[in-house]
């Protein structure tokens, strides 16, 4: 049984691109982190060190910068699709390309024309794949840190010999959410309104997190995902990855103090980790 080359791809990761649109006095700024990865027959590069089919990663970086000027950046999904299609269409050995983009948000300082401040810790993301079977767009948000100070329970769970956790009907529920949703093929085909979809999904995730009385983080996530799919017909599925950031009520009894869920210790590790996909019936 011989030894053979399996799956392989390569690219340039984390090209930090900043783009100023200075068409008039009121500048617009875009702040991206772009990663590209190419798939194709690069076996000669591995097996005998022949680079004839290998477009340097340095060139991929140059392409990102050049396209930021020549094509411009509408939404990150558009920019990623343009880049990915270029690599597949124009670079002969490439059969498929994946482009990942993170976008960092800035807002104007007091409505200034050209002075800005970074806002929020949350990051908008997309991962676009283009290949023989067409295009795939998975967009999302990460580092969306959410907390409920009440309205969260965890009780009635399975108990085995290693279980010491008491059930609770009032706890702090906190997470740093990563959400990634897949656009339906038809939406990608006709060009979805990426920005509107992003805002809508994000808003509905926040709304359901806030307003669902939570019997478990699992339940909150399901309701959040379901609402996202109900709100956006162009979204085929959504994956939610949610660490359960434990807030432990401190026992103040030794100091003669009651602690009716007012003082908590926030722990770093370990943390619960819930991962769930919500999708449309018939998909997988």
């Amino acid at each position: 049984m011989g030894i053979v080359l399996g799956a392989h791809h390569y690219g340039k990761a984390e090209t930090r691109l900043f783009r100023i649109v200075r068409d008039d006095r009121r500048h617009v700024v875009r702040d991206l982190n772009v990663s590209t990865a190419l798939t194709g027959d690069f076996s000669a590069a591995h097996l005998v060190g022949d680079q004839a089919h290998v477009l340097p990663t340095d060139t991929q970086k140059n392409t990102v910068f050049a396209f930021a000027k020549s094509v411009g950046i509408a939404q990150i999904e558009d920019f990623a699709l343009t880049l990915a299609r270029h690599f597949v269409d124009d670079v002969q050995p490439v059969t498929s390309a994946e482009v990942r983009i993170e976008e960092f948000a800035w807002e104007r300082i007091a409505d200034h024309d050209h002075a800005f401040r970074r806002v929020g810790a949350e990051v908008r993301t997309t991962r676009v794949s283009v290949g023989a079977e067409g295009a795939r767009v998975d967009s999302g948000v990460r580092d969306l840190v959410l907390l409920k100070s009440t309205g969260s329970e965890f009780a009635g769970f399975l108990v085995d010999e290693y279980t010491t956790l008491p059930p609770t009907h009032d706890r702090v529920l906190a997470t740093s959410l990563t959400a990634t949703w897949s656009y339906a093929a038809a939406a990608i085909e006709r060009g979805a309104d990426w920005a509107t979809a992003y805002d809508a999904v994000r808003d509905v995730l926040l709304d359901r997190f806030a307003n669902v009385h939570s019997l478990a983080l699992q339940q909150s996530l399901w309701e959040m995902g379901r609402a996202a799919l109900e709100a956006r017909p162009d979204v085929a599925s959504i994956e939610l990855v949610a660490p359960n950031i434990h807030h432990i009520a401190v026992d103040l009894g030794p100091f003669g103090l009651d602690n009716p869920r007012e003082v908590f210790h926030v722990t770093d590790r370990p943390y619960g980790l819930i991962e769930v996909t919500v999708q449309r019936d018939g998909d997988d």
Copy 2:
């Protein structure tokens, strides 16, 4: 010449405290990172391992949690002062105490009573010292990420044999600001309005960063610091630490493209680093 014990102190660093104020249905949340450090005669602990004068760091942590309940958290400066005074007044061997607090900001999700999201990357800080000579309060903000897309120059600088940088009259100016200001003794004595002062200093820093046409980051910082002192008589001095986050215009010439300061590469390292204190005449 013998070997002796020099300066020494000890404490509990980074107690992660979360406090819910649930006096009515509309909760208020506070999210702090508290570090305490005690100074006094702890030489026996070092020299012979005698802990009789050493209040355990575990106790310091307990004290932070207990005071969060029994005293409550008004502004972080108040909480730090209360903690520091407790250690100095109530723990016999302690001659001075330093309490550092970082506060992370949360905002309501759609004005919800008990659902919140973390806002901003910026962190509010204070460092309080209490000792024989009274109290000192240094408050501030860190991770305030600012950028100007124009209105910044750097020219006319000193040129030596290792200088290759061309002068520029239009560049991107970006920083992640750490500002720390010292309150005047009188203000600490009477109890400053810490929250109002924080907002005012932060606003004036943003305003001057935005509106000063910058001939150098140094000049912007001076104008920012000066304006802070002008705005707040209760602030004695302010220290600004500002990395210069370089945004390098990409040469698109090889691709037949002009780049009139539209496409930039954001670099990680190295970075310029400017540190400056602005103070009132007569102080040092």
Copy 3:
């Protein structure tokens, strides 16, 4: 088309476990980071908030600690297999379990019986899955930082209109390697000698990195992977993920100095990123 629950699992991430074996005066220490994840029918927890099938993540953490005492830690693969099998066999709703472990290495200080120092930045890893189809073991190493100061070329590559990189026949080649290899089912069945295999794979990776004259990082990786499979019949495949940490020769010409590849600037981002799997013919 309805909305349904898709793939879902949950667990406790990053339980930091430290184990002292103190059978005699000469202690042995083990330092692990353990993450568990359970798969099964947890749909009721999501859909209606019914936790009856949900073993708390807190219990999973307890189980890790309890097994560290009652079973002990031989190799991390053994410990992960034992934990995963327990969850599948003893917790009724669980159909499959994944356990990931990172191990941090310590060495004795001057051969001391109970004093140790952390060694190396590299981390030994395993990811074990146990389900209906049996067990899978993927072990590896991460943060193995390697560099060749010569013996590395990159030339003859594909050139398009965005290519500016000059070919080179002598460059610095550096990476922070993550290697993950899958053990053959038969080896898992009979219980592989995990520690011997780890040392052997790691050694052969280092040897091939060092001794293969590299025409591209791709080629080095292929030779490293191939040698690993040749050395270990119990390894079915190996995946190598290798950032290309760029060392850029500095142009010292403006200072009247030649730089025959002696002075380099190490960059953080962007970086090339090569991912490749080497496997046995007939597998996929």
Copy 4:
């Protein structure tokens, strides 16, 4: 009372320099992170934006690279002194300069001539200041992670109303040590043997940590510092900063298991933090 410019300095932080010495087939590599900071009369840059006295930070970076070639890197202290003296002597407005260097260690892979791997997490450091009053050299090590699995007590401590910690006569003692020692002026003058001193101080710190039966981390640190000064007459003082990385014995009682200090949970935050300086009598 007017507003004036206080202390100010500026420089280039974190220039990542890699140097290959390729005088023969057996290469030597050096991997440094260099930060420079200049002090002088730069008030015009701040007050009126006049850069005539400001040597660009870009030039400082260039100087680091150029000197790495023209002067070479003996020990990091030598390199830092050379750079600092250049800025003070050759750049007219500069009155003092501080150069900080971190060095990352590499070792040969199987004694190879030009293939290397990073070793250890620990980092060698120096901070050199040159000004009117001469030169100051503070060298050290950071990220030296140490642990004793027994031979450490903590008992007899001060108890107040917030104390709940039980005394212990056998605990795990762990830290990630940062040590910084100051060389005596005479040693700097004649050129200390920096590498020998580094090895000697580091070895004695390890030895005392391992072999002192610890009644408190404070005591261990004092003994470590004292031994360093005894071993090296050229060291005037040493500062030790030591987080107490808490290893908490897990209560396995609920699972019917005894835990005679065998199974521990390693916590991230909070942590004790001990800082102490050991010096020669008569110094301060």
